[in-house]
Assembly symmetry: C2
Homo-oligomer: 295 residues x 2
């Protein structure tokens, strides 16, 4: 595990650098709070600047740079992916969905701005993300991103997650939820970055295989951390999965087998990268970071 | 007024033909209810097939055909515009927003499927619309559509509408709300159709001027109908604007002056069309329909 942690340190450094760069772009590309509707723009920025690892923008950039992408289309795409992730968190936290009061140690959007504004802020971030994607000039990337975000991707995962609460579910359902709710958008981040860099379809297939593996690993680790961490460490309610009767990996197979599965997925992600004739240092380190992270 | 009604008959016929065609496309392009997440797909279809004039798809098609567009990209765009309109209605009807129980004579989405599903169904329609737009291959059209849908367009209008409820507002605010909440998406429908047909920037400017005028007229007539019609005629709660303290034209200047303003806007829309060297029969008739409609 020690060498994995050394690898993960590269990713941590990368994430920290990309975060700073990305947050400057978010500030540039989000509407200013001085423009009408001011309070809505404030709510959009509140959630966008509430912290977070900025993993999706980092994956967009890592894929774009690895495949030799040039130009500023990547800035729009990095911002778009974080806006889409933030939109999903705002709507997931709503009283009628997960009813969460805190996110990243701060009151959730509806707690801070009221429910109507939270609904609209999520909508507005989703729409603004597609405006940013329009600026990339790549309609194919938009089509694929929307597909992986919609009912065959992230939204589909959230819906089955909601429907499964408090029910006995099997591992296939948990896998469905994990893949769709989490892995699909990570996959999309990588594919968008790759497409903007004009990667080949074969290369895109490989990067998506990698994305699927780290995405599933990411969600399993999330479920593990929900059990073994404190609320303070997580910045959101620890143990809330169990409380809500959420379908999770540890609930079905236990902590040890969950850790084993995350490690297997890590191995699969690294194996996928072997098919690429590029410098995969960053992506390897991101995979290591994902299974060694503690928050 | 009689000749206007004759003109409007052309639009009614056109809308009826386009509706049938468009609804076949919706059925093809919406995910089937047999695919997971089934209940979400059911909710998306429930609202998409709850009726309506299909005005936005008709404007997409009218502009596309008038400018000599070829190919099937228009089908995707027509469906996308109706999905975006439907998404906005579902979220507007939510208990935390307008809290409406009926829409087009049927229970609203959250009444039929529950709030969480209604939030997700709106999100999913919005996202699916951008997937369809991605299939048109026109990234510029996507960028502009998102702009006119977002906080500088429809969502901005909805937000200020919500914030203005029960407050004394001036005519400038009502104009802001009307333009953004309603006219922006009609303008976008026309511009998307025009762009897919490779219209020039000058032509696009004209078609947007027309769109803005009929959009403002449309919303003024909507406000008038909310006062003079019965609930049965409207298929939604009549008089609900007054009940909710909504900022409307008739509330500020009275019915007669509101009718005059709608007529002025009609004249402006027709004047805009004079700048085009195309057959504007359909668009003229749509303008006539908009100010003579009774539901």
């Amino acid at each position: 595990m020690e060498s994995l942690e050394k690898e993960a340190a590269i990713a941590l450094d990368y994430l920290s650098r990309v975060s700073q760069e990305a947050e400057k772009k978010f500030d540039e590309l989000l509407p200013p709070v001085t423009d009408q509707p001011c309070r809505l723009h404030e709510a959009m920025r509140y959630s966008m600047f509430a912290g977070g690892k900025r993993l999706r923008p980092a994956l967009v950039k890592a894929a774009f740079d690895m495949f030799g992408g040039k130009g500023n289309s990547v800035d729009y795409a990095m911002s778009a992916l974080e806006m889409l992730h933030t939109f999903s968190l705002i709507h997931d936290d709503l009283p009628c969905v997960d009813n969460d009061d805190f996110r990243r140690g701060k009151p959730t959007s509806h707690k801070q701005f009221g429910e109507a504004t939270a609904v609209m802020a999520g909508d507005a971030l989703c729409i603004h993300a597609f405006e940013m994607m329009g600026k990339t000039g790549n309609a194919k990337a938009i089509e694929i991103l929307a597909h992986l975000l919609g009912t065959y991707g992230m939204i589909g995962g959230e819906m089955i997650d909601i429907e499964s609460e408090g029910k006995a579910v099997d591992l296939a359902t948990v896998d469905y939820i994990h893949y769709h709710k989490t892995a699909a958008l990570l996959e999309a981040s990588l594919e968008v970055g790759a497409r903007l860099a004009n990667a080949t379809e074969d290369e895109i297939k490989i990067i998506r295989d990698y994305g699927r593996s780290i995405g599933l690993a990411f969600q399993i680790v999330d479920d593990i951390l929900d059990i073994v961490s404190t609320t303070e460490e997580l910045g959101k309610d620890a143990g809330s999965d169990i409380e809500k009767g959420k379908a999770t990996y540890p609930a079905l197979v236990g902590l040890e087998k969950s850790r084993e599965r995350a490690r297997e997925l890590y191995d699969e992600s690294i194996k996928a990268l072997d098919g690429l004739k590029y410098d995969t240092t960053i992506l390897r380190s991101v995979a290591a970071f994902i299974i060694t992270r503690v928050k």
